[in-house]
Symmetry: C2
Subunit: 479 residues, 2 copies
């Protein structure tokens, strides 16, 4: 048998067993365990680190939820499943998984209540002026491109970033609460267990796993199903090279050490299909505070390439994939502000021509771009890239300056979005679309809601939602 | 067992057997069969269609070869393995497989001689003025971006498109000659055999295949190895959606019906890893005749985005992936010519402003782009996108016109480049990089030399070269 796969005949006896065996105890694994336990199923959760948390505990803690959650209502926002569905289908990439989007949207209001019931606190306060992660305990925030062209024309916007209430520690808080709930649920947590292989029987069913515990191999049987909740592969250079090589250029890899794709590889070795392994989330957080959206972002030819009020995920994806990570945010004296995230001033000039010379841009290129931008900005609009009027103002007051937004020397934060092909209920599918009996997956080990076009909170959001569905399905399954 | 995989225990007897079983009889499969036979190994070649040929027989027949082939020398061109290696490593995508590039380059001179020895004729005549596929019997042609910025700065250029000598029928001729050689070699060709499954033994070795022959299942044993040479997946909508969804937008899918990814799926079901499944070759053949390179290609914001003298593969890849397939080739009265490939004139205007209005581009955008271009063109250079001086001329003579190069309504020709992860010798690898015993692959069922950044001839080139290596390895293997 190949690495990562063990035939049942080789397993003389199992050290322990449960109805559901969860591999990886981040947010997706915790939700899986909780939901399986809620049906009465026995659960063993394996975690390779000394304790649960994973990347979720290092994250900003934002969950992308909507359709009219209690938190949205408490903050005075209207939302509908239809609006959320329309936004997601328009924004999350070229080929979204429609049944998954449907399930996620339809479950979102209840899923928020479920999180609250697990003990995760949210303050009913809307946070204005920053996207993604508030610098205080506010609970609701814009975390995507809902108000931004072209999406604002495709769906009624609403803020959907739900943030657990602990200033800059929302991710740790989320996992603290979920892990407390897991402990209270009666699920058996096995830390320091690294899963080495899936056990496959002669009929091709997954009946358990082999894990390494301080160098000793332990065989653990899953009577219902194994659920892979092991995270993405941003920490594995070989997998990045194979599937998403551009992400290697990003200076900051968003992921715990365990995000090495091990669970995805286990699934592949068992014959699973993958989806969108090239897809990534790439954040370029340069327009924080929001006043910086009044600048223009130009590439190595001195051309604008996007509405600068787009969400960081969209800025980063376009800058990296479409412009090779060669970008500068150009401001004038009137619009210059200090950035919230560390970022260097690349050059300053008294005229656009001087600035373009300092930046090494082609002669006349930035000047032409600025002239066209200013011509329309004088009328308060941006027909070229459709930035919101509130951020459109002529850039005419010297000196002119540019923040360095190149991938070589500024902050790009990246993680992977591709993974195992799962059905909405978490069943892992083979290349013909047939479930592999006994095998389930959730979270960033799978391809989920976003297959591109990331909005913050979609990974914690879909990881916990589809983790719950996988936990339910595995609890009901029999190998 | 899952679809596409049969356990050895289920196979009561084999209908026939050979040392090497080749699945798919296009160029890669033919080369595999020939090389295996040349070592004395017995060979059965399975082809789902009524006869061999596949996509290779529908292709332009160009083989990308170099390093100083007899044909290059006969045409008076110098080339070196170093120059070819440098060009390929710089051009074929973000993460090329260096050992494969090395092997391909080092084998190229001999591989040309091998093709000639199989009976494939090439005329020692260099063809100027057209890239890719000459409209006559000339044998050598530019088929990539060798002379184009930025590659011209990275490697000494040489034409490397080797074209079998039959006007516009080079692909059919290539396959006619290779199939004649296969027939003469003693390889057993089984047409109308569609391979349904790989047979795997209890140790995870591939020991044969199950094929359907007019509805009847036949089991065929491979004593040494099965070689998957089944082509890419441009004809399979589900796989495109899963891996390369943007390619679905292209109007012309370059592939025989058999390019449905079946062999890739067979490998995946057996636990094989894949590479770069998102990668594609996208041709936008708009600058034929070459005089049209004097135009400028603009996107939906009226901006130029590439040196227009780039090879069609590069034009198409940038237009589709980076500019959503929204592109127009703008010319003036002095540079206008009829295109060789069908393409509509989208609009005409007496001024740049009138043309941009007709095209629906933002006011002033195309005019600003043209002004900047013309300013530098008056000095005979293009510092913004680095087009060769011979194609740089001010566009100032009315009327101005634009050819429609949008993906919605013009010719984009696409095929897939991603596939099974193989070692240089053709061994199919699992997700941990370990060979799956008894399983080999070649051609577009694998990820090969180009993982992006396509030059014409790389698929017939790497398919035949790595087909030969796979044939040799399978002939030497024992399951």
């Amino acid at each position: 048998m190949r690495t990562g796969l063990r035939s049942a005949g080789e397993v003389s006896r199992y050290d322990e067993e449960a109805q559901v065996v969860v591999v990886g105890l981040g947010a997706a694994g915790a939700a899986t365990a909780l939901e399986a336990r809620s049906t009465g199923a026995s659960v063993i959760a394996l975690e390779r680190a000394a304790g649960g948390g994973g990347t979720s505990a290092m994250s900003g803690g934002v969950l992308y939820l909507g359709g009219g959650t209690a938190l949205q209502k408490a903050c005075g926002f209207e939302d509908s499943p239809e609006a959320m569905y329309a936004y997601l289908m328009a924004s999350v990439g070229e080929a979204p998984d429609e049944p998954k989007v449907r399930s996620y949207v339809d479950g979102s209001v209840e899923h928020y209540d479920w999180l609250v019931a697990q003990g995760v606190p949210f303050n009913p306060v809307f946070h204005h002026g920053v996207s993604g992660e508030p610098a205080n305990d506010d609970g609701l925030v814009w975390s995507g491109n809902e108000r931004i062209w072209p999406f604002v024309e495709q769906a009624v916007p609403a803020p959907r970033g739900h943030v657990p209430a602990r200033n800059h520690q929302a991710g740790p808080l989320l996992m603290e609460k979920l892990l407390q709930a897991v402990a209270a649920s009666g699920a058996q947590v096995r830390a320091d267990h690294r899963t080495l292989a899936l056990v496959i029987d002669a009929d091709g069913r997954i009946e358990g796993v082999i894990a390494s515990h301080f160098g000793e191999e332990r065989a653990i049987r899953a009577r219902g199903g194994v659920v892979l909740a092991t995270g993405g592969f941003i920490q594995d250079d070989d997998m990045l090279r194979a599937h998403a090589p551009m992400l290697r250029r990003c200076s900051f890899r968003v992921g715990a050490e365990g995000d090495d794709g091990s669970g995805i590889r286990l699934g592949m070795a068992a014959g699973a299909a993958t989806l969108h392994m090239d897809a990534g989330s790439i954040s370029l957080p340069v327009t924080q505070p929001w006043g910086l959206k009044r600048g223009i972002l130009v590439d190595a030819t001195g051309s604008r390439f996007i509405n600068e009020d787009a969400y960081y995920g969209r800025l980063g994806e376009h800058a990296l994939y479409r412009h090779e990570g060669r970008a500068w945010l150009v401001l004038d004296e009137a619009t210059f502000e200090r950035v919230d995230y560390p970022r260097e001033v690349a050059a300053v000039g008294e005229t656009p021509e001087e600035l373009e010379g300092e930046l090494g841009l082609p002669a006349g290129s930035l000047a032409a771009t600025l002239a066209l931008y200013n011509r329309h900005a004088a009328d308060g609009h941006d027909p070229v890239h459709h930035k919101l009027p509130e951020y459109v103002t002529p850039l005419v007051e010297p000196p002119f300056g540019a923040y360095d937004c190149t991938v070589e020397s500024s902050l790009y934060a990246a993680f992977t979005l591709g993974g195992l092909h799962t059905r909405t209920d978490g069943a892992v599918l083979d290349p013909e679309g047939t479930p592999i009996p006994g095998l389930f997956a959730a979270g960033r080990a799978t391809s989920g809601i976003a297959v591109g076009g990331y909005s913050s909170g979609l990974s914690l959001g879909d990881g916990t939602w589809f983790g719950r569905l996988a936990g339910r399905a595995a609890a009901a399954a029999r190998t």
